[in-house]
Structures are given as structure tokens and as C-alpha cells.
Amino acid sequence: MDLNYTPEQLAFRQEVRQWLADNVPAEPLKSFDTAEGFEQHREWEKTLAKGNWGMVTWPKEYGGRGCNLIEWLIFEEEYYKAKAPLRVNQNGIFLLGPTLMEFGTDAQKARYLTKMASGEEMWAQGWSEPGAGSDMAAIRSKAIRDGDEYVINGQKVWSTRAVFADWVFCIFRTDPESERHNGLSFIFVPLDAPGVTVRPIPQLDGLPGFAEIFFDDVRVPVENRLGDEGQGWHIAMATAGFERGLMLRSPARFQETAKRLVELYRNHQNDILDLSIEDAVVKSFMNAEAYALSTYQTASRLMKGGKIGAEASLNKIFWSELDQSMHETAMSILASRAELLPHAPAAGDVDNWLDGFLFAQSGPIYAGTNEIQRNIIAERLLGMPRK
């Protein structure tokens, strides 16, 4: 164990810090759930790509820097500290990217990863269906082979970023006779393909952060399939591992929120009446810190050849509930002003806590509800009986 950064890691931090200081937009971008904001964020992705900062852990040939996981954590720390824009292509770079790296053909990697890292192509995720939420194996949308193409019919729902994205990666039933986890395949669909209809769904903040997608005889070439036919469930579980585990939510995000919470608390210390707030602030800080420490542990282990399995479910529960409790605490401190939108004349220092609070409500739901994660922990980590 050595909890010191190497001189190379310290130099890397300086390089990241300097580049961000020179390039992060001075004014915050508009929400990426608006048409204008989405394009602003796309431009930012392109700026990142020009500096080769799009996805630092990827190999150089796909637009990355070949960084290891510790360097990735350092990059993320500097990124959140610099208040750089959120990653509009997170479904692509954090979820599909690592999945492509593991299951894609060389041609697919060259085709998709490069444009993902360059900010040219934005991705949405199409897994849930009206009848297949937590029970994802109940998927009914079909992709039926017809020569060199699949013909797709069905419906996806809760597809984050689908309103403005270019592509969606989906799970379809390629064997119409199959049931449950069998007969599913992982397929990419361009969102401008004939027969695709995207219906925006406004979220709690009123903006269309996700959508329903209808597929009506949509044709895509067989090359759009990732992995083998029928391997969809297996691949999707790997993607879910990235989503819940390491990549999607790096600790830096929560550490910066905890820091802001401590500052908010210090500023309001004398007018807080609720005795539980002090405890909640200390706990928020400890938990953000614990998540960071634990992630460094996981990264160190993976760099020595370890694997991440069902313990990804522990992470997902921990960061989502941490985010929720930090924002609840901020709302308690802001008290009667907590409900005000930032532009309300009496809003004062509400900052974007409300926005974060609303988003934090989704954490325990997306990427597999926390109830499902608890089942996974009990059954796969502890070996409790299924039936």
C-alpha cells in the first residue's frame, strides 16, 4: 500500500488542471435536455476531443490517452473541481464504450469508438420497455433477421438523451420463440432511421431528459449487432456492471457536492434550528470520502488484474443514496427558500441545489433500482436462497 501519487501522476494532474483552466467555458452551459444546451454540450465534447481528453483511459488509436484507472480518477477529480460541463455523451463513453472494447470487432471499435470520443456521435440507451423495467428479461421488442438486415418492431422507454442523440444501443429479441434471458441480441440503431419515432417524456424539471422510442419495420444491417446473436443478455450485464460500478459515477462528483454542502452549512450555521443537520453534514462528508477511498481501492485492485462483479451493486446503492442524502441536507439548510428556482428574486444562495435534489431522486431508480441491487447483493455476494 502506498497512498502517495507518483511524480508522473502529479505531473498529469497539473497538465489536466492547466488544460481545464484554459478551456472550461466561463459561463455554465444550458441544460443538455434542451436543444440549444445539447448542441453546446456537443461542442464541449469536441473541444475535449481536440485536446485528447474525451476518454483518457481509451487507447490512443480511438482518441484516448491510454491512461490507467488512477490517472482516470485524477482526471475526474480535476474535471469536477474545475466545474467543467457534465458529459452529455455519458451513455456512449461510460457505458457503451467499455462494452464495445470488450465485445466489439476491430471494425466496430474503429467505427464507433472514434466518433464517440470525438464528440461527433451522441448515444442513448434503449433497454427498458413498458413491460420490461426491473424485469428486463421480459423484453418483447423484436429484431428479426431478413438477409443481411434486422427488421425491428416494438417500443423502448425511459431512453435517456434519446430526444437529441444520434444513436441508441438496444436489446431486442432476435429469436421470436425464445423466452427470458435467451434469444436476445445487442443492436445499434441510428435514431434518424426510417420507422423510428422518438416521443419526448418531460422529467421532474419539465425538460425532455428521456423519451419513448417506437420502432416500426426499422431496418439495420447485421453489422450493427454487438457480439453474437443471442448473447445480448450477457453483454448487457457487462454494460450494467460498468454503469453501476466504476465508470458512470466517479467519486469526484460527490466529493465536490460534499464540499459545497460543508460550505453552505458553514454559511448558515447560525440560523440552523434542526439539530440533525450538523450530523447529516458530517455524514455526507464521510460518505463522499468513503466512496472515493473505496474507488481508489477498486481501481488499484483492477490494475493488478482483479475483476469487478456483483460488488458493483454495492457502489450503485452507496453513491445514489449518498447523493440523495446530501441534497436532502442542502434543502433542509435552505429551508423555506429550497423550493425556489434560482432566478426567483428571493432565491438568494439557492445555487443549483434544487436541480441536484430533483436529479438525486432518480439515482436509486436508474441503472437498476436499488431494490434490485439489494437482491443481487443478497443472492450473489451473500449466497442467500433464491427460492
Partner: protein, 354 residues
């Protein structure tokens, strides 16, 4: 940057774990409750032979010359079996304190050598704990008075037994009179040594309660797999699965803070307060939740003397309050966080924190 234990550290831990699992069982603990001292001197001598009591003693004084980080995994294993013998306090608190004083006071060097040889036992008091554990089997006692640390033989003190709900814990209030002769350290030196002892004691307690929490969850998973109601194992019920999953989340996320605290104590002890308090608070919360959820999953059986769960539950409840209760440690964290110069944020995880 490498946040993993070495293969050697893990192998050593595995061998100690095997030893403890073989020698310390609920049956052997129950037997020891019936004995006069509650302690097993044979077991103690085995631990002495393995070098466990003197792990942190410098090689010059007959020890293994290892550090807090090396011992933390072992302390977890001591918790996992609810070891009654005062190994963790001896190795993590007593011997580092004597080592720090051995240069200037030859008595301490002699005690270290006798300890490493298994000839004597030494108990330690601290202002954070009202009582001294294992004072009855100690040949010598290290006792605090303000900024002073005194060394007294057992026949120089009066002990009053204070019975604990945990029959394995043997606690004593100590009446004593110090003198210039018994005083080992005072002033700034005494304050620093007492502060270091508190952090080491808290680290040892935190590590043990992580082991206790894992032991409770393991035995409860087994119980809910074996016990049938409505024609099926009660562990198939989601309510119980979620009780157990919640324990694992808390315990797993208490480990990295524990190891960071151990590392900081071994490398930069003067800056370890924050890390130690963090570790102690979250370990305590994990163990209290494990106790609560595990007794619930056991139903009425968990409320009995016969069921082994209480052995672990009671130790966890006790150690959560020993070497600084949650209020003490949270206050240290709170004061630290309220300092406007506290270095917090995403890039400060491994910095010196103030």
C-alpha cells in the same frame, strides 16, 4: 498510488485467521465465561509464540518491527471470532506506547522484552475509557493522569470489577496514587503519547467491529438459509435479503476508511485524527446496523442466551463506545470540517488534510 495490501500481508492474515478460527469458537468463549479470569493463558502463549503480541515492537526489543497497517487485518480477524484476550490493545496500544518511551526509560524496554517473551501482561487506561479492560490479569498498568502517563504494578493499585453485559469483557475501575517515580511521561510528550494511544485504540476497535459485523451477517445468512417457514427458507424473503444487503453496503464502505486510517497512523501519525475518527464512526454504524438486522432476522431465537449471535452483538455494542464513542469522533470531524482552512474536495483525498 496503490491502495491494496501486499500478498505477504494477506497471507499472514490468512494464517492468523485459520489459527483464530480453530482456537476461538463460541464454545470456547462460553467455557471461558465460567472461569475465574475469563481468560485463557494457554491461548495467550500461543499468540505470543506466533509473534502477534509483539508485532509492532521494534526488532531491537524482540518484536517483529511491523506497523499499524500490518496489524489492522489481524484485528479484523480478532473481531470475527470475538476474541476475548486483549491481543488488539496489547499489540496496537500498549507496545507502541512502551516502544516510544523505551529510549529514555529502560523500564519500558525491559517490559517490552518480557511482553514479547510472554512473561508479563500490561493493561492500559485512557481518559476516553472510564474503565480499564483486563486489569485483573495485568502484571503492570499504564495509567493516565492529566498530561501524565504512569506505570504501576498491579499490587500498587486497587481494582473494582465492573460487570459488562458481554461476559467476555472484564472491566475494572482503578484506584491508584502516582509519584515522580511511577511517571513515565508528562507535559507535551504525555499529551502526544495519549493522543496517539487514543487513535491506535480506536483503530483497533474499528477493525474488530468490522470483523464482528461480518461474522454476524455470515451466521445470519446461514440461519436464514436453514430456517424454514411457510414451507420455504426464510432467506428467500426479500425483506430479509434487504436487511442483510444493507449490512454489507455499510460494512464494505467502512473498510476503505479503516485502511486509510491504518496507513495514515503508520506513516504520518500526527495527522491521523481525522482518518481515525472517520473509520471509527463508520465501522460503529456498520456494526450497530448488523446487530440490529441480524437479531431481527433470527427472530425470537436471536433473543436467547443459547444462540451465539449475542456473543458478537454485545461485543460490537461495547466496542462501538470504547476508545471514543460516536459523539466524540463525530465532534472531532465536525470541528475539523468547520475550519475554513480544512482542505476538502475532489483533489484532496490523499493530501495532508489541514
Amino acid at each position: 498510488m496503490d491502495f491494496t495490501f501486499t500478498e505477504d500481508q494477506q497471507l499472514f492474515c490468512d494464517s492468523v485467521k485459520d489459527f483464530l478460527q480453530a482456537e476461538v469458537t463460541p464454545e470456547s468463549l462460553r467455557e471461558s465465561w465460567e472461569s475465574e479470569t475469563g481468560r485463557n493463558n494457554e491461548l495467550w502463549q500461543q499468540m505470543v509464540e506466533l509473534g502477534l503480541t509483539a508485532m509492532l515492537v521494534p526488532e531491537a526489543h524482540g518484536g517483529l518491527g511491523m506497523n499499524e497497517l500490518d496489524f489492522t487485518l489481524l484485528a479484523q480477524e480478532c473481531g470475527r471470532v470475538a476474541l476475548a484476550e486483549p491481543l488488539v490493545e496489547t499489540a496496537l496500544v500498549v507496545t507502541p506506547l512502551l516502544s516510544a518511551l523505551a529510549e529514555k526509560d529502560p523500564r519500558c524496554g525491559t517490559l517490552l522484552e518480557q511482553l514479547a517473551a510472554g512473561e508479563i501482561k500490561v493493561a492500559v487506561g485512557h481518559a476516553a475509557n472510564d474503565l480499564v479492560s483486563d486489569a485483573h490479569i495485568a502484571d503492570w498498568l499504564l495509567l493516565p493522569s492529566g498530561d501524565q502517563i504512569h506505570l504501576l504494578a498491579r499490587d500498587q493499585v486497587n481494582l473494582t470489577a465492573q460487570e459488562s453485559v458481554d461476559p467476555s469483557r472484564r472491566l475494572y475501575s482503578v484506584e491508584w496514587q502516582g509519584s515522580d517515580e511511577t511517571c513515565l511521561a508528562s507535559g507535551a510528550e504525555g499529551v502526544a503519547l495519549l493522543a496517539a494511544s487514543l487513535n491506535r485504540g480506536a483503530l483497533g476497535a474499528a477493525a474488530q467491529i468490522i470483523g464482528l459485523a461480518e461474522a454476524m451477517v455470515a451466521m445470519t445468512v446461514q440461519y436464514t438459509t436453514d430456517r424454514k417457514q411457510f414451507g420455504k427458507a426464510i432467506g428467500t424473503n426479500q425483506a430479509l435479503k434487504h436487511h442483510m444487503a444493507n449490512c454489507v453496503v455499510k460494512t464494505e464502505f467502512a473498510k476503505a476508511p479503516l485502511y486509510r486510517a491504518a496507513y495514515t497512523l503508520s506513516q504520518l501519525p500526527s495527522h491521523a485524527d481525522f482518518a481515525v475518527s472517520h473509520a471509527k464512526v463508520v465501522a460503529g454504524e456498520a456494526a450497530l446496523l448488523a446487530a440490529k438486522n441480524c437479531i431481527q432476522a433470527h427472530g425470537a431465537m436471536g433473543y436467547t442466551w443459547e444462540c451465539d449471535l449475542h456473543i458478537f452483538m454485545k461485543r460490537a455494542w461495547a466496542l462501538d463506545k470504547f476508545w471514543g464513542h460516536a459523539g466524540f469522533h463525530k465532534n472531532r470531524l465536525h470541528q475539523w470540517l468547520m475550519n475554513p482552512n480544512a482542505k476538502i474536495g475532489a483533489d484532496k483525498t490523499f493530501g495532508v488534510q489541514v
